[in-house]
Amino acid sequence: MTHSQPPHPPRWAQKLLSWYCRPELAEDLQGDLNEFFERNLRKHGLWYARFIYWIDVLKFIRSYTLRVPEFHLLFIHYIMINSYFKTSLRSLVRTKLFSFINVVGLAISMSVGLLMIALLSDLLSYDDFHAKKSRIYRIITTLQPKGSAEIELASSSVLAGKKIKESFPNIESVTLLRRGFGGDAQVGESIVPIGGLWADSSFFKVFSFTLRAGNPTTALRNPYSIILPEKTAHKLFGHSDVLGKSIRFDTTNYTITGIMEDIPKLSHLRFDALVSFASIDLRNADSDGHFLNWDNVYSNYAYVLLPENGHPQTLQTNLNKLCTTQNKSLKDLQILLSAQPLSKIVVGNNLENSIGPTIHQVAIWVLGGLVMIVILSACFNYTNLSIARSLRRSREVGVRKVMGALRNQVLGQFIIESVIISLLALVFSFLLFLALREQFLSLNPHIDNLVSLRISFKLIGYFIVFSMSVGIVAGFLPALFFSRLKALQVLKGTSSIQLFRRVNLRKSLIVVQYTLSLIFITTTVIGYHQYKSFLVFDLGFSTQNILNIKLQGNKSELLRKELAEIPAVKGIATSRLVTSLGSIYGTIIKYQNPTDSSNVALNFVDENYLPLHGHRLLAGRNFTPHTHENNSTEIIVNQQLLKRFDITPQNPSKALGEQIKTLDGKKYTIVGVLKDFHYGTVERKIEPFVMHYSPEESGGYLNLKINAEDLPSTMSRIEEAWKRIDKIHPLEARFYDDQIQEAYQQFSVMVKVIGFLAFLAVVIASMGLFGMVVFMTETKLKEISIRKVMGANESSLIYFLSKSFIALLILSAVIALPLTYFLFDKIVLVKFAYHQPIGLGELMTGFVMVVALASLLIGSQTLKAARTNPAKVLRNE
C-alpha cells in the first residue's frame, strides 16, 4: 500500500462537526479528534479508529460547542429581498423566451396540481360537518364463503346492529339504517318518485344533521314517521312548512315529523327522505324468512358512536367476540365484522353495497402520481434552462460574492427567485384551473356527484403553499449550482469552462422527461385502442338497433301491445336484465351429484329474446310460450354449464332433456344449448349461464328491435305509447350500443384523463427541449459559422447540431417503450379476460408523434442557425 493517501477520518463526521461546532472551538476540537484518530489507527486499526471518531463527534454535541444560529443572516435576506426581486425581474424580462417557457410550463403543470389539491381537499373534508366525526365508526362485514373469494361489504346485518345496541359496553350510541326505501310519493294530486333510508331514533344522536322543525329525539320513534330535507319538501309541497302533514306511498300514509336542513354536498349519506326504522313492515321485510338472520348482511348499515374516551380497539374486540358466537350457526360461511372510521368511508377500499359515493384510494394515488410527474417535468425545465443559462447570472453571483454574500445567501436568493416565478405562474395556473375544473366535473356524472371543488380560503392557502414548494423544488438545483460558484473564477472570465458543466445532469433530466412523456402517451394510445376494442367486441349476439326500455313496474303485456302497432318496431322481447353491462343475476344449481353445486349467472327472458338478439343455438330449441313463469320448467344453458357439470360437453344435443335442480328442489329441463356469449364485461371470463323462461317482467326491460330509418319519429311514437301506459314516470329507453359504451365509461374517463396529462407532459417536455436547442444553437453560433466558412454544408451542420438531441430521444424510447409494454402486458391487461394483443403500431404511434414534434422543434432552430450568414457572426469578433 502506498502512503500517498494516508487514511483519513470519516469525511461525513468531519462535515457534521464543522457544521454544528462553533467556529472558535472547531479547529482545536478537530485537531484533538485527529490526534486520537491517529493513535487509534496505530493501535487498533482503521475501522475502529473511524468508529471512535464518529462516536466522539456525536459526543461533542453539547450546549457549549453548538453554533448559535445566525438570525441576523436571515434578516439580511429580508433586507435584500428588494434587490432579489429587482434582479429576478430583470432577468425575467431579459430572456423572454426562457421566462415564457418556465412560467407557462409551470403554470400548466401546476393547474393540474391545483385540481388535484382541490380534489383531495374535498375528499378529505367529507362528512366534516358531523361534530363527532372522529368518534363515529361504521360496522362493515367480510363474508368468507368456503372455497371462494371473500367479499367485503359496507353493510351489516340487522341482528349485528341490534346486538351491539343491546349488549356492547363502552358505546355512546348506535344507529341502524336500511337502504331501499322508495316509491312514488303522493301528495294530493301530485306524484313525485323519491328514494331514501330507513333510520332509527338514534340517528340524530350519532349524526349532526340539523332539524329545522320537529324533535330530533322523537321524530323517528313511531312507525310511519318521515323526515324530509327542505329540498324534498319543496318538491312535494312547494314550501317547507309541512310538519305534521302526511304523504302517501302506495297504500300507506306517512306523517312528516321533521324538516331537515338540506344535506351538505360532502356527505356520504344522501337521501330524499328518512323514514323511521320502526315502519319496516316485518311481515313484508321478512318474506324471505330471514330479516333478522345473522347472514342477512346486504341492506342494513350500523353506525356506532364511541364515547369521548372510547377506544376502537375495544369495539373491535367485542365485535370479534360477537362473530365467534354467531358464526357457530353457519355452515359454509364465516362472517367477520369490523369497525370502519367515518373518515375512511369515502376514500378507502371499494366495498360492495356502498352507500353514497366512494373512490378507491389507489385511484387517488395513481392520479396524484401522474400529476406529480407532470409537475416535476416542468420543474426539470426550470432547472435545466437555469443551469444552462448560468453564464450570464454567474457574473452577478461573482459580484455578489465579492461584496460579501455568503453561500447560503446566494442559495436563498435563487430559491427566492424561483419562488417568485412559481408564484407568478400560480396566477396563470389558477385561471387554467378554473377552466379545467368545469371540464373535469363534466367528465363523468360520478365525479360531479362526488365533489364540488369549490374555492375556499383554506384552498387558496394550500395553493400558495403548493406553488411555493414547487418553486423551491424547481429552484433548488440551480440555486445550489450558483451558490457553489467561485467568485474569482467567474470574474476572471474563465466562464466559458462553466458553460458546459453539468451537461450530464441536463441530459439525464431531458431523458427522464422524455421517458415519462413517452410512457404517458403510449399508455394513452394503447388504452384508447383497448377501449375501442371493448366497444366493438363480438359479444356473441347482436346489439345493433336494439332499444331497451325499463318497464318501471308496468305490465310488459300492455306496453307490448301499444308498441307493436308502431311499424318501425320489428320485434319485442322481455328480459329481467340487460346483459353485458356489468350487472349479473345469479343462483346456485346442482346436477346429478347432490354435493356438487355451482353458482351460475341467470337471466329471465321470453320466447322472443333469443331470436331478437341473434343468439346461436347449438342444439335444441327456443322456449315454448307459457302464460306464467311457474308453468315453465324449460331452461336454455350455455356451453360452459355443460362443461362445468360434465354433461356431454362434446356433443350438446345429448344434453337435451337432462335435468338440473335449484337449491329449493325445483327441477328444470335443458331444452337448448347456446353458444357461449359474453354476458358480463370483457373483464370477466365466460362461466356457466342459464336462460330461464319468464313472459312477464315488470321489474325488467322490453327489448325492441328497431328499424333505424327515421329514428326521431319512431322515438316520439314510442314515447307517446309509453305515456298512455305510465303517466308518472318518464320513459327510460336506451340503445343497447350506447349502454355498452356507458358500461365502459370508466375506461373512457381514464383514457381522457391520462391522455390529457400525456398531452401536458409532451408539451412541457417539448418546450424544455426547445429551450435547450435554442440555447445550444445560440452558444454554438460562432462554431457553426467557422465550420461554414471551412466548407460545411447545411445538412451536415443540422446533423451536427441535432444528433445529440436525437440520441437522447432514442435513449428515452428504448427505456420507455419496453417498460410500457410490460406494464400493460403483465399488469394491466391481465385483469381483462378478453383483450386485444398490444400491436407494434400502438407502441410506436406515441414515439413517432413525439419524435416528429421534437424534430420539428430541433430542425427549425438548427436550420435557422445553419443558414445564418457566417460573415455577420464572425465580424463581431
Binding site: L25, D28, Q30, G31, N34, E35, F36, R62
Partner: protein
Amino acid sequence: MKGTHLGEFEELVLLTIAALSSEAYSVAICDELEKHTGRTTKLGVVHAVLNRLEEKGLAKSYLGEATNTRGGKRKRYYEVTQVGKIALTHARDIREGLWRVIPDLHLGGAL
C-alpha cells in the same frame, strides 16, 4: 462566590495545566491526568472543563503553530491565570487547614 468555586476535577485539570507549563493542550492534559490518577479520562470531559475554566477566568488559552500532525490543525494551549493561581492556593490552604485540625490520624493504619 459560586462562579469561582473550584470543583475537584476542575482543580485537578488546573493543576495539570500548571504542571505541564508550556505543553498544556487538551490531549496532553488528558494523558497526564490518566498517568497521575490512574483513571481513564475522557477527552470530552476534559474539553468541557477546560472550556468552563476559561469561562471562569481561571485559565486562558492561545492557538499554537500549525504542524504536520493532527491533520494540520493548530493546538490550543492553556495556561493558568493569576485568578487561577489564587484559586489553587486557596484550595490548598483550605485542605491544609483542615488537615491541621484533625487531632489524631493514624496514617499508618489507614494505609
